[in-house]
């Protein structure tokens, strides 16, 4: 039995603007180490909202989030930031790289922030990650010089730099063409199978979801499946 690395305990979320509406209702689930899970559901059903809560970026909710056996309730901004830094790798739909820095610096950034390794070691690790993703040759380029698919792979390399307990993705292939989506999916699958990496990926691509280990289906702010 693998350890639970992510747990949602009766999470509810309301938006108060313009009128109070409930977007998440009593969400409960557990994710085990090495699981490759996807969350699917219609647009507007609350997938992104749930992911922001699970990733500790949104703190305005009811219920509890447990990551790697630690409760996230009542943690300070700084503590949550270091949880995100050390334990979570995030991949967004719109790549979100720092255009002011080189690809390599982008990948190194969370590692430098964590500070577990020296700058030299972090650089070496960044190169390794880029190699796993097949973009080591782009290391010294600027993000603006890369294609969409390449940028997304850089974002994945960055998510991996601190060996997080979980990678979360909010429609990471939503903005990519078929071919690049395929590449990104294969990378995720390889991470799960070869490196026993846990992944929780929001998608509205049912084909993508079908190929993951586990599908969490949402509707109107509830998990239905």
């Amino acid at each position: 039995m693998e350890a639970t690395i992510l747990e949602a305990r009766s999470i509810s979320k309301y938006f108060h603007d313009p009128v109070t509406t409930q977007v998440l209702t009593d969400i409960n689930f557990k994710l085990n180490k090495g699981e490759f899970a996807s969350i699917i559901g219609k647009s507007g059903c609350g997938k992104s909202t749930l992911l922001y809560i699970l990733s500790t970026m949104d703190t305005d909710y009811e219920g509890e989030v447990w990551i790697d056996g630690i409760g996230m309730k009542n943690k300070k901004d700084e503590e949550l930031a270091s949880v995100r830094n050390a334990k979570i790798g995030f991949v967004f739909q719109f790549h979100y790289l720092l255009n002011e820095l080189s690809v390599l610096d982008n990948v190194m950034m969370p590692g430098l922030k964590l500070g577990h390794f020296s700058e030299k070691e972090i650089e070496q690790r960044a190169y390794e990650k880029l190699k796993v993703l097949g973009i080591q040759n782009e290391a010294l380029k600027r993000p603006t010089q890369l294609s969409g698919g390449q940028k997304q792979r850089v974002a994945i390399a960055r998510a991996l730099i601190n060996d997080p307990v979980i990678i979360m993705g909010d429609e990471p292939t939503g903005n990519l063409d078929k071919k690049n989506s395929e590449i990104v999916f294969n990378i995720f699958q390889e991470l799960a199978e070869v490196y026993n990496q846990s992944l929780l990926i929001v998608t509205h691509d049912n084909e993508f979801a079908a190929r993951t280990n586990r599908i969490i289906e949402m509707e109107d702010g509830k998990i239905i499946h």
Partner: protein
């Protein structure tokens, strides 16, 4: 490690917007440059104007004056002790202006550790005889070397050699204005008459120009022995003792002490020239006000640029937060940006401020009333540079404070969702 990382991010943000950054930094540079130049020039001007009077004014002057007796007999009567007494039966008598036992007084003063220098002086009322007309004047009998040491006498002798006053017997250095009235040239002999009617021929060895017209029309200088001869007094006759102190601020207290101790009148420089202090401090205040205003304007420039930068960098801030940077880290990044602008702009400003001061220092400034001044005066006080440096850092910090706080509070969810 953390400092290095924050510097790295700050630098990348700065370089991505280097033109705006440069403009902001140049704003600081400009204001610091003007601040330094303005203060140095104002202080130079103050020094010059103060010097006009203060350099030549003793910190304490001991003298005798014809005054009514301070204690009238009626004051000593027990019977009228608590009454308002207005009977003054003792009138001033014809006391001499000489300071008695002055050699001993001078010796005592020279031994006093608080005193930096002592110069004796005789003030003699005379008439300069110009043809048939007599012009009133004053001859200052001075100890040439002491006077030069204490009051930079040689600076104000615009023609001739001041030491001739000591070396040539019966010589005089005429005030420029007085010399013009008498049409006197160096080497001429002029005639003066004392208030007691004695006449004497004096040889003109130089001209004296203080910068104050009214003084130059009246005052002339001779050696002490010449003046004693002129007045027909003994070689111990002295009317004034001029004292310079190590600390000018002690003058009021010490002048009272000496008046008591030596039983003479004493006046301190603060009492004699109260108005100069006020003038200087007002000028200084104005320069600081202008300089600080410039800095505040530069501060608003930085504030604007940071706000704009934060608006542009929303995505980057969101990504930093999503990958584990805390609000504090983001705050530190923007404060670093503000301080970098402040420090680099400030350093350049200090250098250019020094350059501008040096330039002003070269501009010729010749005026008859200021014989010792050849260029615009500049005071290179390191204090101005310190204040400029501190102010540039403080203003940029304050300018960066609110934008940085705003940046640190950015909610990454709103930014990421907004895409």
């Amino acid at each position: 490690m953390k400092v290095k990382l924050i510097t790295k991010v700050s630098r990348s943000f700065l370089l991505a917007r280097w033109k705006q950054t440069l403009v902001a930094a140049l704003g600081v540079t400009f204001s610091i440059t003007m601040f330094i130049a303005l203060l140095s020039f104002m202080a130079g001007l103050n020094d010059m104007l103060d010097g006009l009077i203060l350099n030549r004014t003793p910190h304490i002057r001991l003298y005798n004056e014809i005054l009514p007796s301070k204690i009238q007999p009626i004051d000593q009567s027990q019977q009228f002790k608590n009454h308002h007494n207005f009977v003054s039966s003792i009138k001033p008598k014809n006391i001499r202006l000489e300071i008695y036992n002055n050699a001993a007084v001078i010796n005592a003063l020279k031994k006093d550790a608080r005193v930096s220098g002592v110069a004796p002086k005789i003030i003699a009322q005379v008439f300069y005889n110009v043809g048939v007309i007599d012009v009133t004047g004053i001859i200052n009998g001075i100890d040439v070397e002491a006077e030069n040491k204490l009051f930079l006498f040689s600076d104000y002798v615009t023609e001739g050699n001041f030491m001739d006053l000591k070396n040539i017997p019966n010589s005089i250095i005429l005030g420029k204005g007085a010399a013009e009235k008498m049409l006197a040239q160096i080497g001429d002999n002029i005639q003066v008459t004392t208030t007691k009617g004695e006449r004497m021929q004096l040889k003109v060895v130089g001209f004296y120009q203080s910068g104050i017209q009214d003084i130059d029309k009246v005052q002339s200088y001779a050696s002490i022995s010449t003046t004693q001869k002129l007045l027909g007094e003994s070689s111990s006759y002295i009317t004034d003792i001029q004292i310079k102190l190590n600390d000018m601020l002690l003058a009021p207290a010490l002048s009272e002490e000496y008046a008591q101790l030596f039983d003479v009148e004493a006046i301190d420089i603060q009492k004699a020239n109260a108005q100069f202090e006020t003038g200087s401090s007002v000028r200084t205040l104005i320069s600081y006000a202008v300089g600080i205003t410039l800095l505040i304007v530069a501060g608003f420039g930085i504030y604007n640029i940071l706000n704009m930068m934060i608006y542009e960098k929303m995505d980057s801030i969101a990504i930093l937060k999503a990958t584990g940077f805390s609000g504090k880290d983001v705050n530190a990044i923007f404060i670093t940006i503000a301080l970098t602008i402040g420090i680099f702009g400030g350093i350049l400003g200090l250098v250019l401020g020094y350059g501008l001061s040096a330039l002003i220092d070269q501009i010729p400034f010749n005026t008859d009333s200021l014989p010792t001044v050849k260029t615009y005066p500049i005071n290179y006080n390191p204090q101005f540079y310190m204040i400029g440096a501190i102010f540039s850092i403080v203003t940029t910090y304050l300018a960066g404070y609110f934008p940085s706080r705003k940046a640190s509070k950015i909610d990454p969810v709103i930014i990421i969702r907004g895409k």
